[in-house]
């Protein structure tokens, strides 16, 4: 076989190998799964009781169906999922730098982008499962009230949001490849989004002097569009402003992240720091 043409690994086979690797590793940490699921139940229960303090029909919740528990659960569940899209890629790069496996991955014939996306697949799939479970638990036990679901709205907002947050993830991974820590995208979009993006309270409650910051955050439009599509029985025209805003973010962030990633790989190879930590 030496010197002969060797089979080229397909992306799907590589992704499956990453999934199998991470699942096998996860199985060796026996209590991690249990504590993760317990966290979901506790979070739903916490918002269930907090919601009793907020009377139904509170004006600021009007555009989202009026029920605080449903508002908060959708916000937390989707913000966690988006957080994983945003943080998954830089986290796996950092983890591979620290564990020392990055170099062994990068000398294989698989492309760097395949390795990066493959590495982040299991955490993403697991977070999807957690989100579905959180919504399922909220529906079954805590009275999550869904409206008439706006399918096209959910699909459009969902797809554009995923692209947007993956782009931020690629930007973050590019930063980590070169500078290793101190990822500013994570701080700006992660921390600020939690406060100003309307995750657990409506953006309309913010003082006007800071509300404009919310309009610069993709999470604001993602959660607004998703809540209107799931809770408020809205039609597509009502979520169109969110769809347009997310598409604009994608138009800027997607090409920017791809260029940044290419430059980051080149710089790290040039500086000889690709696998440093």
């Amino acid at each position: 076989m030496s010197g002969a043409a060797r089979p080229r690994a397909s992306g799907a086979a590589i992704f499956a190998a990453f999934m199998r690797r991470d699942f096998r590793e996860a199985l060796t940490y026996k209590f991690s799964f249990v504590s993760s699921i317990t966290g979901i139940l506790l979070s739903s229960a916490t918002f269930y009781f907090v919601a009793k303090l907020v009377p139904p029909g509170t004006p600021s919740l009007g555009p989202f169906g009026g029920d605080y528990f449903s508002f908060a659960v959708i916000g937390v569940a989707f913000a966690s999922l988006l957080g994983m899209f945003q943080e998954g890629l830089p986290a796996v790069v950092r983890s591979a730098q620290l564990s020392g496996t990055l170099e062994a991955l990068l000398v294989s014939p698989a492309s760097i982008s395949t390795i990066l996306f493959g590495s982040s697949l299991y955490p993403l799939v697991f977070q999807l499962f957690r989100t579905a479970l959180q919504l399922g638990v909220a529906l079954a036990f805590f009275g999550l009230t869904l409206g008439r679901i706006n399918g096209p709205g959910v699909l459009c907002v969902g797809a554009l949001t995923v692209l947007c947050f993956l782009s931020v993830g690629v930007l973050s991974a590019s930063f980590i490849l070169v500078y290793k820590t101190g990822n500013p995208f994570s701080w700006i979009l992660g921390t600020v989004s939690g406060l100003l993006g309307g995750v657990v309270f409506p953006v309309s409650l913010l003082p006007p002097w800071i509300r404009w910051v919310s309009s610069l955050l993709p999470v604001t439009y993602a959660l607004d569009g998703m809540r209107k599509s799931l809770l408020a029985s809205s039609d597509f025209a009502e979520v169109l402003p969110d769809v347009i805003a997310l598409a604009a973010f994608d138009a800027v962030l997607l090409p920017l992240s791809l260029v940044a990633f290419r430059l980051a790989v080149r710089k790290a190879k040039k500086d000889g720091t690709l696998s440093h930590y």
């Binding site: 089979p7 496996t101 062994a104 000398v107 000889g272 690709l274």
Partner: protein, 266 residues
């Protein structure tokens, strides 16, 4: 000599940026200081040979290996592996080389040796029964079949190095880049590794091996060709017979002279 060499480097240059503190960055923000790792290195490794790259710490051995493995981009000159330029055409280079480093951190410690090989095998395009057969073969060659289903964290240092070889052999690459394979090993484990490289990989498998080491005895006993690298350049190059024909003492004299002269020039 007319056959295309397995590895060729011409006037290869690599300079790394020097780490600078905040104060220095504020004082001289546009100052770019570098340290030279490779300074116009020329190298030719013939197919099927065991080529030992001897040099002191910091001589440029690991930088050269990383450039050949496409992990680091050169700043000048050119290098090719199996006829493919490492900077312009890294894909075929990655398929042509097996990279065996003495870094136990490059494995997944909570997975077994076999599971590690299954994962890396997938990155090299191995699937299904072909993958399982290849893994069985490289485990047999490396002599760690019995430990294949133990978790990596239960492996001894010698077994970890053998698993690194097993991984490098997965794709059956014709060229192996081996960086200080006997570092941190006890004498018996080191001897097993040397015999494995010389007899099994070079002798039976007909691999080309670029073997970086600072162990003179290792080079004298196992290399076909030896090059002494110091301060980023090849200072001395010849067949093992010509450099170590008088045994280890003659190689030591040649090595010390070559390294000493490069230090004086610097």
């Amino acid at each position: 000599m007319s056959e295309r060499p397995a590895i060729l480097a011409e006037n290869l240059i690599k300079r790394y940026p020097v780490f600078r503190g905040f104060r220095d960055l504020l004082r001289r923000p546009f100052d770019r200081r570098t340290v030279t790792a490779l300074d116009g290195l020329d190298l030719r490794v013939e197919r099927g040979s065991v080529f030992c790259l001897l040099g002191p710490n910091g001589a440029g051995k690991t930088t050269l290996i990383k450039i050949l493995a496409t992990l680091v981009l050169p700043d000048g000159g050119r290098a090719s592996v199996d006829g493919h330029d490492v900077a312009r055409d890294p894909g075929p280079v990655k398929s042509a080389v097996g990279y065996a480093v003495n870094d136990e951190r490059s494995f997944y410690w909570r997975l077994t040796g076999r599971q590690n090989l299954e994962f890396f095998g997938a990155l090299y395009g191995l699937r299904g029964r072909a993958r399982d057969l290849r893994i069985a073969e490289v485990l047999r060659l490396s002599g760690i079949e019995a430990a294949a289903d133990l978790r990596f964290n239960a492996y001894s240092t010698g077994m970890r190095q053998m698993l690194a070889f097993a991984r490098a052999l997965l794709a059956d690459a014709a060229i192996l880049l081996v960086d200080e394979p006997t570092r941190s090993l006890d004498p018996q484990a080191a001897d097993r590794i040397r015999a494995f490289l010389r007899e099994e990989l070079a002798g039976n498998q007909k691999k080309t091996i670029l073997w970086a080491t600072h162990d003179l005895g290792e080079a004298a006993d196992h290399a076909d060709s030896i090059a002494v690298i110091s301060r980023g350049r090849i200072r001395l190059h010849g067949t093992a017979a010509s450099l170590a024909g008088g045994g280890r003492p003659s190689l030591r004299r040649a090595y010390e002279q070559a390294v000493g002269e490069s230090e004086e020039k610097a």
